[in-house]
């Protein structure tokens, strides 16, 4: 297994280098200097800014410098827009994103698996069709609609109608974010600022997940070992939860593992509407303001996590399914 991991890492090195090079080239198609200097830029100030940004050096030199920083895990380069070290910016931004994406992933996965099991259990019946109809309906609604309506009704309209005072733990914040440890322990901050975005994320993703997991379960239903279990007189719940669920875990694990790298990216729309200072908001702001150091650092981190997650997924396969041999 270790040989397999080492080989996979080695194979992915050129992929990683290629991703970084591609992003650096793509960024430099348009000149960012004018975005920072505005309408009154003189040729002299343009040259000064370009020199300060390091854009007057050849691309290969910029690439080499950046790779050197990645290899030494040096994220001290300052953001062009915020003038703070990019490591500091990304380090602060990842936790608010995780505060939403991790609970949302756990909740949506468990809920979707439960619903998919029920749907597969009663497949072909009215219950199954109703659940799938609801899933498709949920999938058909845009993320923006969920966010806008969720914020309006969940954080404004309903509390106003019910007369829930501001500051009450029963009232979701319209926007904003405060950590759970701020001048003392404040667990209510998570409920106030993060729970509504988590609920919206779960509602948004549950349709997709449910349909996928149901399809996995239904496919397992037709396997020989299920037929054997039925023939041996096993009860339907036992077949579903003991035999089928275990074997359906591989595609479920794959699905969850693929999602893991995206936990740190957060949701751009969610974070901008709810003013969560997470990675999504940080990234979109950096892209809009052409903040190359932040975008490049984000790419380097995300690409590494994605590659490592893929390798980890393969390793987990081998652990979960004894038939799988890594070679």
């Amino acid at each position: 297994m270790y040989a397999y991991i080492f080989r996979k890492l080695l194979y992915n090195v050129p992929v990683y280098l290629g991703i970084i090079l591609f992003v650096m080239v793509a960024l430099r198609v348009n000149d960012p200097v004018m975005a920072y200097l505005g309408k009154s830029a003189s040729p002299e100030s343009i040259a000064a800014m370009r020199s300060e940004m390091g854009l007057d050096r050849p691309l290969i030199s910029q690439y080499g410098t950046f790779l050197g920083r990645v290899v030494t895990l040096d994220f001290s380069e300052r953001s062009w827009e915020q003038k703070r070290p990019v490591g500091d910016i990304l380090g602060r931004a990842v936790w608010p994103s995780l505060a939403i994406t991790v609970p949302a992933l756990i909740l949506s996965t468990l809920t979707a698996i439960s619903i998919a099991l029920l749907s597969a259990y009663w497949r072909g019946t009215l219950t199954d069709r109703t659940l799938m109809f609801a899933a498709v309906l949920g999938m058909s609604v845009s993320l923006l609609v969920y966010v806008v309506l969720g914020q309006y009704f969940g954080a404004y309209w309903l509390p106003e109608k019910l007369g829930i005072p501001d500051g009450s733990p029963l009232r979701f914040a319209i926007s904003g974010y405060e950590p759970v440890v701020a001048e003392g322990l404040r667990p209510d901050n998570w409920l106030r600022y993060c729970l509504l975005p988590v609920i919206i994320t779960v509602v948004l993703t549950i349709g997709y997940d449910t349909r996928f997991y149901r399809a996995v379960m239904v496919e397992e239903c037709n396997r020989d070992y299920i037929v054997t279990a039925r023939a041996k007189g096993a009860s339907k719940p036992k077949i579903m939860f003991v035999h089928m669920l275990k074997n359906a875990m591989i595609p479920i694990i794959t699905h969850v593992m693929i999602t893991l790298p995206f936990l740190i990216t957060g949701s751009i729309v969610m974070e901008t509407y709810f003013r969560i200072p997470g990675m999504g908001q940080t990234l979109i702001t950096a892209i809009n303001s052409k903040d190359f150091p932040v975008i490049q650092a984000f790419t380097a981190v995300f690409a590494a996590i994605f590659i490592l997650t893929n390798i980890l997924t393969d390793v987990l396969y081998a652990l979960v399914d004894p038939r799988v041999r890594l070679s």
């Binding site: 348009n30 000149d31 960012p32 200097v33 004018m34 975005a35 920072y36 200097l37 505005g38 309408k39 009154s40 003189s42 040729p43 100030s45 000064a48 800014m49 300060e52 300052r78 827009e81 915020q82 003038k83 703070r84 500091d88 602060r92 990842v94 936790w95 608010p96 995780l98 505060a99 939403i100 991790v102 609970p103 756990i106 909740l107 468990l110 809920t111 439960s114 914020q151 954080a155 404004y156 501001d166 319209i174 926007s175 904003g176 974010y177 950590p179 759970v180 440890v181 701020a182 901050n189 998570w190 993060c194 719940p237 939860f241 901008t272 509407y273 003013r275 908001q281 940080t282 702001t285």
Partner: protein, 618 residues
């Protein structure tokens, strides 16, 4: 089965909540020692004013590095300039760090200043004993020199380029010294700076320019202490030390900014009752007349990138005032009458509108072989195109009809702006018949030349949604002449590049006045300012240039206004652009905010705001 499902669900919720809390706890650990989280009122704060910033906020709290309106807002809380614009009359300057307005010598080149005695910088660790010291002329010179330091990007050098005697030479010499590794010597002399005493100094200009006073009111020239810049270095943008009415408490970039009252603020009084107009007195703007400011103990700004959360927070009573977003305009106002919606009025919310010093236009490149030049046929061509464009239709379609359409480049409210927006020679009223006649005079009858080729114009603009819609409108309007219009949609940087390189035949742009004087807009047509300067049209008219050079040294007066009007009419006749339009901002104020009459011409008025806690709904 159901029991297991319920148990699993309960475990999932507990696990999820735990994961979320751990995530936030991890963040708190990561931020330990650095200060994190949003702003909350400090213990003992009496009057707290909550405000919105409709963007992700300032990029820096260092005035020399600032450029955006939001940098301006933030810096105006903590720093001050020598002069500023009056709150009761935002067109007029008044002394702020000065004891009195500066005076000009007979030749107009030497400006004499007298600092207000006893003005201190904020208490900060950069000073001995942590006590802020008194401002001196050296601080003024130092702050100006910082604009010339290339380590600040020379972002704001345009304010002082060629203005102060010896400053350009200082800039070149010190930046060369920097490049040679010898450092930037702030103690090196500038010929035009002369310190007379601890409060008096003079600045000598290269030539007499009245706008120098407006330049001194720009936030980028706020006075900063050398000790703080040297102590904090690159982090000075996060640790502001100024003389302003507030001191920084906490700044979470892109999230929030909180400031507390400066306990050592020098005496500044709310404008006297007689300084306000009758209309303003009717609105009780004079209620705090003569009181020392600031009137609140703390201000908390929240940054909103999206409009909905800002709108909802205001309606929930959490913000003092907001600029009304376009998407919510009809929820706030009756579109036809512009009166406040009854639902808002019943809550005690009031409104205010202010026409910005905007000049929204579509320019022609006067060096273009097809549309450029001052010959009668080219002038006729440009006038024809101008007359085909219906700016009122554009206003209705894209701006809810709230913009102001006017003749000439001088915005509403400034000397030289035509009365009622109509100049003696006007092109803003669309006239298709007249346009067709002019097009024929230009040699393009029905949009085709003698060889039968159709006139095709390329219109360069940025690729935002509104600009795309504008280009579609233009296309439809201009094609009524038989002329073809090809929009070229580009990102902003590429658009500027094309305009600066004189490649854009027609281009959609806007200019926001840097100060409330028509000279700022008339400079856009001054020949030597051609691209890559601000004269993006590359308009060159010697008669116009001569008049411009004449007005530079003139203070506001009827004589100067007459020349402004003459220059305005010359530009309208020559038609180097299609325009003009100025945006109108609408604001809503909560019932508990007092003394609020928002304007974007200056931001030093924030210290005059007050709150009436008894009017906040529980």
């Amino acid at each position: 089965m159901w029991g297991r499902v319920v148990t699993a669900a309960a475990a999932a919720v507990a696990l999820a909540a735990g994961a979320g809390w751990l995530g936030q706890a991890g963040e708190a650990a990561a931020q330990a020692g650095g200060g994190g989280g949003g702003g909350a009122a400090t213990a003992g704060a009496k009057k707290v004013l909550q405000m919105a910033m409709r963007t992700d906020g300032p990029k820096s709290l260092d005035p020399a590095a600032g450029s955006t309106q939001y940098d301006n807002i933030a810096c105006s809380l903590m720093y001050e300039t020598l002069v500023t614009f009056k709150y009761n009359d935002p067109k007029t300057l008044e002394p702020l760090l000065l004891a009195e307005m500066p005076t000009f010598s007979a030749d107009g080149r030497t400006v004499s200043f007298k600092l207000k005695p006893g003005v201190r910088f904020h208490d900060d660790a950069c000073f001995p004993g942590g006590k802020g010291r008194v401002v001196t002329p050296d601080d003024v010179f130092y702050s100006i020199k910082r604009i010339a330091d290339k380590r600040n990007g020379l972002k704001n050098w345009w304010l002082l380029d060629g203005v102060i005697e010896g400053l350009d030479a200082f800039k070149d010499a010190q930046n060369a010294s920097l490049d040679a590794g010898k450092g930037f010597d702030y103690d090196a002399a500038v010929a035009g700076f002369k310190k007379i005493s601890e409060t008096e100094f003079t600045i000598r200009l290269n030539k007499p320019v009245y706008r120098f006073l407006y330049t001194l009111a720009q936030f980028q020239l706020s006075v900063v202490p050398r000790e703080a810049v040297e102590k904090y270095g690159k982090d000075f943008g996060f640790k502001p030390v100024g003389t302003g009415p507030f001191v920084l408490d906490k700044w979470e970039p892109k999230q929030s900014l909180a400031v507390n009252r400066n306990p050592n603020y020098h005496p500044v009084l709310y404008p006297a009752r007689e300084a306000w107009s009758r209309e303003d007195r009717r609105r009780r703007m004079d209620r705090a007349a003569g009181q020392a400011v600031p009137l609140v103990d703390r201000m908390e700004f929240t940054m909103f990138v999206q409009d909905q959360p800002m709108w909802l927070e205001f309606n929930a009573g959490k913000l003092g005032y907001i600029e009304v977003p376009n998407d919510f305009f009809e929820q706030a106002f009756d579109k036809r009458t512009r009166s406040l919606q009854p639902a808002l009025e019943s809550k005690g919310i009031t409104s205010h509108s202010d026409v910005l010093l905007d000049f929204i236009f579509t320019g022609f490149n006067m060096e273009d072989p097809v549309v450029g030049g001052l010959s009668p046929d080219r002038r006729a061509l440009r006038q024809a195109i101008h007359l085909a464009v219906d700016q009122n239709e554009i206003n209705e379609a894209l701006y809810q009809g709230i913009n102001v359409v006017y003749d000439g480049p001088i915005p509403v409210g400034l000397d030289g702006h035509p009365e009622g927006g109509k100049a003696p020679f006007s092109l803003t009223t669309p006239d298709l018949e007249r346009a067709k006649r002019l097009l024929a005079e230009a040699g393009w009858p029905n949009g085709r030349n003698a060889q039968g080729e159709q006139l095709t114009l390329r219109y360069y603009t940025s690729n935002g949604l509104q600009q795309q819609q504008m280009s579609e409108l233009y296309k439809r309007q201009i094609e009524r002449l038989g002329v073809k219009l090809e929009p070229v949609l580009l990102d902003f940087s590429t658009l500027i590049e094309n305009v600066n390189n004189k490649k854009a035949q027609m281009f959609g742009f806007a200019w926001g006045s840097d100060y409330p004087d028509g000279e700022n807009n008339l400079a856009l047509f001054y020949g030597p300012n051609e691209s890559p300067g601000s004269n993006h049209y590359n308009y060159k008219n010697p008669a116009y240039d001569k008049l411009y050079e004449q007005i530079l040294s003139m203070a506001p007066s009827p004589e100067r206004t007459k020349i402004y009007e003459q220059m305005r009419d010359m530009v309208i006749q020559d038609t180097p652009y299609i325009g003009s339009m100025g945006r109108t901002r609408f604001y809503l104020m909560a019932p508990w905010i007092l003394n609020c009459r928002p304007t974007e011409r200056t931001w030093s008025w924030l210290k005059y705001l007050d709150v009436d806690e008894s009017k906040r709904s529980k």
